[in-house]
Symmetry: C2
Subunit: 244 residues, 2 copies
Amino acid sequence: MKVLIVFAHPESKSFNAALKNTAVSTLTETGHEVKVSDLYEIGWNFHVDRTNFTELKDNDYFKPQSEQPLGKYIQKIKDEQAKVTWCDMIIFQFPMYWYSMPSILKSWVDIVFSAGFAYGGEYGYFEKAGFAGKKALICTTTGGPEFFYTEKGRSGNYKRILYPIIYGMFVFTGMESYEPQVFFGPAHGTDESRKEMLKKYSDYLKDIDNQKFIPFNKSDKFEGQMMTLKENEKTNIEIIGDEK
Amino acid sequence: MKVLIVFAHPESKSFNAALKNTAVSTLTETGHEVKVSDLYEIGWNFHVDRTNFTELKDNDYFKPQSEQPLGKYIQKIKDEQAKVTWCDMIIFQFPMYWYSMPSILKSWVDIVFSAGFAYGGEYGYFEKAGFAGKKALICTTTGGPEFFYTEKGRSGNYKRILYPIIYGMFVFTGMESYEPQVFFGPAHGTDESRKEMLKKYSDYLKDIDNQKFIPFNKSDKFEGQMMTLKENEKTNIEIIGDEK
């Protein structure tokens, strides 16, 4: 596969960087092609606004959903979209900040996954969206220990915390999502425990062609004009919350 | 109350701006004091990195959690933290981007809700965190219609989508969270339907002193060293998913 790793940690000597480097070497060694977007290194410094574009259809009223499909992006944004087009699989590598991704990665998604490219326009949503056929993986780290992120732990199940990313960013744009690879509290571990985490991640990636996707409902499980879930089907939150 | 509205929409003539303006006028007229942080207007343009600080404890290895408690922030960040200290209530006003907040607001949270200020250090977490006693409200808009964001709709229950914000940002830092005020698909509505939405929001805010908080479990519902939920208590995801 062609794999794009989007890396979002401000320190190149961090454990997140080690996870990113592990992915690069493991995937390369097992015959995959890898590109990395190191967002801090490339100086990704945008939010959704007028400066994303070289020209605007409407200078008086800025509406991102109307401007994005016209594709009049500055070069730095086009470069990132070209990498997404190129790849078969995206990996988001980030430390969990506030039960979500760091703002630098969020801004990459807000801008690069644009209307008319990731969804909408000639594409639709979910299976009909722009990234249908691609695969996506979260690899993330937490500050707290694993029990904190269980169903009965203080934060609740980590997979439900990651639902807006997994379902909202990956599945919504047509991608299949692997089970997120979460490494709990590496900063509180030892060199030995961190090495084990890297090995675990490497082993997971070595077998990437056989890893399972989260079995979200496809369109055929919904019915009617309002696309309501059919009787007796599991809801998204039940599906993502299920233990492996 | 002293209310801080953090506003994150790139167009000052947008419906989100109208919601923000409605909050300013309604709250002011009913005797509250209001400050607004208009993130696009103030040119909020940061991510968590070395440039947040005037000096670093460790120049060779950048670890945000170690630098933040020292408080050596640039003035623009200190100004925002002063507004948070000042207020009794925070309102996040934003359009939903990717089942979450726009990156400009995420970066405000990543940086302003810092270790040693929002949580940790002399504070703890949840009821013992830095913002204990404060209240918080999400006011947001969606692109899609309401049925899309129900339990059996294609996206799932909107309150579960907003869980990382409500629980991860508000409750984690000690704040009580009101029920989120979500306005579905205003762009697909009419002038009349949008006026009704503004009136609904204004009516909600007029009665803010009597509005209910989401009844998350306090620490006394957890037990043991690992703070596991006691028998027969509802999990967070059940609590937030409950209909009003």
